[in-house]
Symmetry: C2
Subunit: 426 residues, 2 copies
């Protein structure tokens, strides 16, 4: 932990080295080690690593124990927290272009005071007077060092509209609770074993706890919304919640169905990602009493940003390399998920290709060589390029929507964020 | 279906016979057959059978098929719907005292017009533009002919307070959606295979659908609440939702823990039953713009009624007979649930008895004779009598609370309902 760290590295890289340095290695070598470790880990389209922050050692308890059990999960390093806190620094470790990685840093810096209050509120509201299991589970997830992108979008939207009150803090916490509840339920639905590089709550406790604690967080989120005193916020967020659940159900029934259309895909993506992004930015504008035009513009921004974000995520599953995307290429293929590249390829398929998709995705009869064939078809049919073009178009739409909002420094950051989301594709 | 039916029977019994009559039997014999079938089915503390109503044949689809598959579930009769619609008539078939069974009939008659609008609203809002799986699952449950007690409590409370508007219809549907969402998630948590005598959604579809459709109904319920335009309603119902989830988590962690106290039990019961009862009655008063005192009185009524209701349910698990309670005596014992009779018996236990509870409930080491021993101990320690006294005291509290509400005919029905809830114990 007191390793000599290359001082010419940016601060987060220095921290990373301190946390990753294996015994007996020098700092520069250790930096490389950390770098490789980070590359192996999950990264989302914002270039931020999916592994958790330090969390609260006492609360997380079981999670940490499992994390240190090499038989179950490979611990990231020997640091006291057992999870790579420093890896959660904003993605610059990825060797990405510093200019494009800046929007999240800048957003974070701009909203630091507000975010501190949001985090304090989240911590106080995830408690339960009667059921200690609740804070155990929520701490595991809420304190696992997620990006907090959605609450940041709330804060950014309301600040952009010149808001000076406190309701945006309540709203940001409410949005994060909806997101967390959704993650808990998603992990039950997907039977996931890892989230942000850590074992999921359904694995550490059980599906029951994940379902019920998710419900608790939904309820908590509606309490927070009610505290904003804005009926419009209630409408926006209850509508978003319905869209989220609808999208998830749609995804469930569309999986393995090779007749899934791009329209259905966009509807699923709205539920999965964009609905909460757009609710965050729209409701942020609403609590700030912005003009209707500005509210709609911010809705449009969140919606388009969310769709671009998800298309990038789905595209990287086929076009990234395992070392840069931090997960296995072709996971969606193996799980028979109908994502945009495959939907486009199926629309352009000849009879042989259609039979291939029907067998591998429709019927799930896959062998080892099939992923290679799938990638070949995706390239041949230019399905990856076409999906990339769509992602870029959605990012452009997000930026265009912003033009109707106040010309503030925050607006530029949000605009750059849209570019950043698709920058991983280039 | 065109059987000769004893015309001297009340209308619902005539319907029951028409639905239950096995081929080649005369009407009176058929009535007895129906009666026995009903007795075999699950009955709740309100004396209403837990088997479903006819539902919507087209929508339910898979449910009906399963229901008709004798390998999986014994079909109730040969009627076209495959489920015993008429069995869901208000419990009079049970041969219960007509006088005590009247409150629910009277409530139903009094609120018939309102309930029709609530049911229409429920049907329209449980639809989904994008995901057909949603109405399939919700139809299975919502149209299964539940008691609709909670929406009736909303309507009764608001009408009692002289309400003439329409917000109570929205609110009643919202409350029923919360209830339905809770049932869907409960069945996942409990790994149940039957609800209201029909296969559960998690059995017919999968846990994933139950979790996500439950989430959808929660969201739909919050949309309906927002439409009432009352921020106070939002507060009441989001608080109730948090209490419900908290109570469920508490039940999860308290199960098999023989140190569970009566306080914890009441907290669990509030989450399980009373929180939504009290939210229904309180919010009903709120939309009617009743005085604060009246709102509080109606909260108190719902809370006490709900607790009495649940204690009766838990008590019947030990003190009823299988033919009258429609489920197996001792189910809670076998599932190692810490309910009031057992909590009281453990508090009064000597060393031998404590070892017995520790082994059977704490460790789950049970053999066939243990239920008999458990019942002996419960009688010896007067745990059943003491629980019965508690239930009656809660029912009295419910009636006393009503004294602060307007002296309307509906008040008497609600008061009689409290008596009715505990009448099955006598």
């Amino acid at each position: 932990m007191d390793a000599i760290v290359p001082q010419d590295r940016p601060r987060h890289e220095q921290i990373a080295v301190r946390h990753h340095q294996p015994p007996g290695q020098d700092a520069e070598r250790s930096f490389k080690h950390a770098h490789v470790l980070v590359q192996r880990k999950g990264l989302d389209p914002l270039g931020r690593q999916k592994v958790g922050g330090a969390g609260d050692q006492q609360r997380i308890g079981g999670a940490q124990k499992l994390f240190h059990d090499p038989g179950k999960l490979r611990p990231c390093c020997e640091c006291v927290h057992g999870v790579a806190m420093a890896c959660d620094e904003r993605g610059s470790l990825m060797g990405m272009n510093e200019n494009v990685s800046k929007p999240l840093d800048r957003l974070s810096a701009e909203l630091a005071g507000d975010m501190e209050r949001v985090n304090a509120l989240i911590r106080s509201r995830m408690a339960s007077r009667h059921a200690p299991r609740i804070p155990e589970v929520t701490a595991h997830l809420v304190e696992a060092g997620g990006k907090r992108l959605r609450p940041m979008l709330v804060l950014a939207a309301s600040r952009l509209c010149g808001y000076e009150g406190e309701a945006h803090v309540l709203l940001a916490a409410a949005v994060e609770f909806i997101h967390t509840a959704t993650l808990l339920h998603d992990d039950v639905v997907d039977e996931s074993e890892q989230r942000r590089g850590r074992p999921t709550a359904n694995l550490l406790w059980d599906n029951k706890s994940s379902v019920l604690v998710g419900d608790y967080l939904f309820a908590r989120s509606f309490q927070l919304m009610a505290e904003t005193g804005s009926m419009e916020v209630m409408h926006i967020l209850s509508n978003a919640s319905a869209t989220i659940a609808e999208g998830e159900v749609l995804q469930l029934t569309a999986a393995q169905d090779i007749t899934t259309t791009e329209d259905t895909y966009i509807q699923i993506v709205r539920g999965k990602t964009a609905a909460l992004f757009s609710a965050a930015t729209e409701a942020g504008a609403v609590v700030a009493h912005a003009d209707k035009t500005v509210q709609q513009a911010l809705f449009g921004y969140g919606d388009a940003l969310g769709i671009a974000f998800q298309i990038v995520d789905d595209l990287l599953d086929y076009s990234g390399s395992s070392t840069t995307i931090g997960k296995n290429v072709g996971d969606d293929f193996r799980e028979r998920k109908l994502t945009l590249p495959v939907i486009k390829a199926i629309a352009r398929a000849d009879a042989t290709e259609r039979a291939f998709w029907e067998r591998t995705i429709g019927k799930g009869q896959q062998d080892e060589a099939d992923l290679t064939t799938a990638l070949e078809i995706l390239h041949r049919r230019e399905a990856l390029d076409a999906s990339r073009a769509d992602a870029i178009a959605w990012a452009e739409r997000a930026k265009t929507a912003l033009l109707a909002t106040p010309d503030q420094p925050l607006r530029q950051i949000l605009s750059d964020l849209a570019d950043f989301v698709v920058s991983r594709l280039s």
